[in-house]
C-alpha cells in the first residue's frame, strides 16, 4: 500500500462536487426507506421488498460502478496516470492502493446506507439490517473490484458495467435461471438468506445459490479480478494523442 497514492485517489474520488453528487444515491435510498416505513407502518416484509428491489438491484451496483471506475478510469483516459506509473513503485502496489480506497468508499457510500435503510424502514430484531448489511458489504467489495478492473481493461467501463448490472443481472437474470447463478447479486444474497432465516422465505429474502457456493464464487471472483487489475496495470500502454 502506498499512502500518497491512496490520498490522491481519495481526493479525486471525493472532490467537492463529486461527493455531493455521489451522496445523492444513498440520500435517495434513505428517503425511500423513510417513505416505506411511513407507508407500510414499519412492516419487515415491505422493508425486505424495498431493499431487494431497489437498494440491492440498483443503488449498490450503481454506487460501486461510479466509485470503482472513478478510482482509475479518468486518469487512464486523460493520461495523467503517467505521474503515478513513472515512479519506482510496483504496479501491484499502485493498483491495490487505489482499489482499497475505492472499496472503502463503496462500503461507506453503499453498504452502510443500505444497512441504515433497513433499520429506518422497519425491521424485526435487526435481522434485515444485518442480513442486507452483510450482503451489501460483500457486494461493495466484489462489485467495486470488478468495475475497477473493467476500468483498466476498457475505456467503455461505465457502459459495460451498466450493461452487466442492469441488463445481465436485472433483466436477463429475470428470465433465464442459469444467468442468475452467474451474478454477483445472487452470490451476496446467499448469506443474507442465511442470516434472515427462518423468516427469509416469508420476507422473500432468497438466493439462487447455496451459502458456501455463493461465498466461494465471491472470493474467487474478487481475488481474480484484483490480480487481473494488477497484472494489466503492469503492461498498460500509455501514449499521447499522436
Amino acid at each position: 500500500m502506498n499512502l500518497v497514492i491512496m490520498r490522491l485517489t481519495a481526493r479525486s474520488l471525493l472532490g467537492r462536487r463529486r461527493v455531493v453528487l455521489l451522496s445523492l444515491l444513498p440520500g435517495v435510498l434513505l428517503l425511500v426507506a423513510a417513505a416505506t416505513r411511513w407507508g407500510s407502518d414499519a412492516d419487515p416484509w415491505a422493508t425486505a421488498h424495498m431493499l431487494h428491489n431497489f437498494a440491492m438491484s440498483t443503488i449498490l451496483p450503481l454506487v460501486c460502478l461510479i466509485i470503482g471506475t472513478g478510482a482509475i478510469g479518468p486518469e487512464i483516459e486523460d493520461g495523467s496516470i503517467v505521474y503515478l506509473l513513472a515512479k519506482p513503485i510496483s504496479r501491484t502496489t499502485i493498483a491495490l492502493s487505489k482499489l482499497v480506497v475505492a472499496v472503502t468508499t463503496a462500503l461507506a457510500m453503499g453498504a452502510v446506507p443500505i444497512a441504515l435503510a433497513g433499520a429506518v424502514s422497519g425491521d424485526w430484531h435487526w435481522k434485515l439490517t444485518l442480513a442486507y448489511g452483510v450482503a451489501s458489504a460483500l457486494g461493495a467489495v466484489a462489485y467495486t473490484t470488478v468495475f475497477f478492473t473493467l476500468a483498466i481493461l476498457t475505456r467503455n467501463a461505465i457502459i459495460s458495467g451498466l450493461i452487466y448490472a442492469l441488463l445481465w443481472e436485472g433483466v436477463i437474470g429475470g428470465y433465464v435461471p442459469g444467468v442468475r447463478v452467474l451474478s454477483i447479486r445472487q452470490w451476496i444474497l446467499a448469506p443474507a438468506e442465511e442470516i434472515a432465516a427462518p423468516q427469509a422465505s416469508t420476507w422473500g429474502v432468497s438466493s439462487q445459490v447455496g451459502l458456501s457456493t455463493g461465498l466461494l464464487l465471491l472470493v474467487v471472483t474478487t481475488i481474480l479480478a484484483a490480480a487481473f487489475a494488477a497484472r494489466r496495470l503492469q503492461t498498460i500502454s500509455v501514449r499521447g494523442s499522436e
Binding site: 505521474y83 513513472a86 503492461t235 500502454s237 501514449r239 499521447g240
Partner: protein, 303 residues
C-alpha cells in the same frame, strides 16, 4: 551519465507501423527528436519511458530494458505530452506528491528546489486548473525534476509556451545538460530544435530519417531544390531574366505565373529582387510552393 539505446526497434498498432526498425543511441547532452506530427515521436518516447512495449527490437537504459521495469524511474524523469494533471491540487501539492511518490529523503526540500528551477515559486499556491498552458508545462517539468534524474524525456515541451517561457526552458535544459544529464525532447519545429539541441534525430513516418548535429541536417534541408511561384507585371520577361541570371535550374511559364525551381535557396532569393528591379518588372507575388515541414522531411527520406 546515462544512455538510452534503441536497437532495431519497431512498434506497430494493428497494421499501422508507428516506428519502423529504429536504431539510435541517446547519450548525455541535449538531443532533439524532430519530425512532423504522426512521425512516431511519441511512440518512441513512450517506449524509452517504459510505457509501451516494442513490438520488435530492444530499448535499453544503461543496458537494462525499460519495459516492465519501474526501477528505471529512479534514473528517468518524464514530462508527458498530456496536459491533464491533477487540476484540483496546487502546484506545490502536486510537486510534493511526486517527491513523496519517489520516496525521497527530504521531499519538501526537493519540491522547493524543483519549483525554483522552473521559476514557479510565485504561483505554487494556486490550483493547477487555473494555470496557463505554459505554467502547466513548467509545473509538469518540476515534477519530473524533483528526484534529480540523470535522464529526462520531454514530449513536445515547448508547445503552448510564449517566447519568454521558451527561452527560460531552453536555459534550464542547457544547464541540466551541462551537469551531464541525458535529455531528449521531441518537437516538430526545426528552429526550436536547432537552437538548443546538440544532436538531432529526425523521424519521418515511423522511420529514422537522419541523425547528427543540426548543421548537417540544416544543410540537407536547405540544399534541396526549392520551388517558387512568382507573379509579376511581365512574366515572360521575368522568366527570361531568371534563366539568364543562372541561379535557377528550371523555369516554366504559365499564363499567369512563372514556376521556378532553384537548387540554392539563398542565391535565388537574393537574386530575384535585384534582377526584377534591373529589368523594371514589378513582382506581385512570390510564394514558396512546398515549404511545408512534411515536404522537407519527405525529401530527406527519399534521399
Amino acid at each position: 551519465m546515462s544512455a538510452i539505446t534503441l536497437t532495431n526497434v519497431s512498434r506497430w498498432f494493428g497494421n499501422v507501423v508507428a516506428a519502423n526498425d529504429v536504431t539510435m543511441e541517446i547519450g548525455p547532452g541535449i538531443t532533439g527528436l524532430l519530425g512532423p506530427n504522426g512521425a512516431g515521436k511519441t511512440t518512441l518516447i513512450s517506449m524509452m519511458g517504459g510505457f509501451l512495449a516494442p513490438s520488435a527490437g530492444t530499448v535499453l537504459l544503461d543496458g537494462v530494458p525499460t519495459w516492465r521495469n519501474p526501477e528505471i524511474y529512479r534514473t528517468v524523469g518524464i514530462v508527458p505530452e498530456t496536459e491533464a494533471a491533477y487540476d484540483m491540487m496546487t502546484g506545490w501539492q502536486f510537486v510534493l506528491a511526486n517527491a513523496l511518490l519517489h520516496e525521497l529523503e527530504y521531499p519538501e526540500t526537493a519540491a522547493t528546489a524543483a519549483i525554483e528551477a522552473v521559476d514557479m515559486a510565485t504561483a505554487q499556491g494556486r490550483a493547477i486548473g487555473t494555470y496557463s498552458k505554459g505554467m502547466k508545462q513548467r509545473i509538469k517539468m518540476a515534477t519530473s525534476l524533483v528526484h534529480q534524474p540523470s535522464v529526462l524525456l520531454l514530449d513536445e515541451p515547448f508547445s503552448g509556451m510564449d517566447p519568454r517561457q521558451r527561452l527560460h526552458l531552453m536555459d534550464l535544459l542547457r544547464s541540466l545538460a551541462a551537469d551531464g544529464k541525458t535529455i531528449l525532447f521531441s518537437s516538430h519545429i526545426l528552429e526550436e530544435v536547432e537552437v538548443v539541441a546538440d544532436t538531432i534525430e529526425v523521424m519521418v513516418a515511423g522511420r529514422h530519417a537522419a541523425s547528427g548535429d543540426f548543421r548537417k541536417i540544416r544543410r540537407l534541408m536547405t540544399e534541396r531544390p526549392h520551388r517558387y511561384t512568382v507573379r509579376s507585371s511581365d512574366n515572360r520577361a521575368l522568366a527570361a531574366a531568371i534563366i539568364a541570371e543562372g541561379s535557377a535550374n528550371a523555369v516554366s511559364l504559365a499564363p499567369d505565373r512563372v514556376d521556378v525551381e532553384a537548387s540554392d535557396f539563398g542565391s535565388f532569393v537574393h537574386a530575384l529582387p535585384r534582377l526584377a528591379h534591373k529589368a523594371k518588372i514589378r513582382l506581385l507575388d512570390v510564394t514558396p510552393a512546398d515549404e511545408s515541414l512534411e515536404s522537407v522531411f519527405s525529401y530527406l527520406v527519399a534521399r
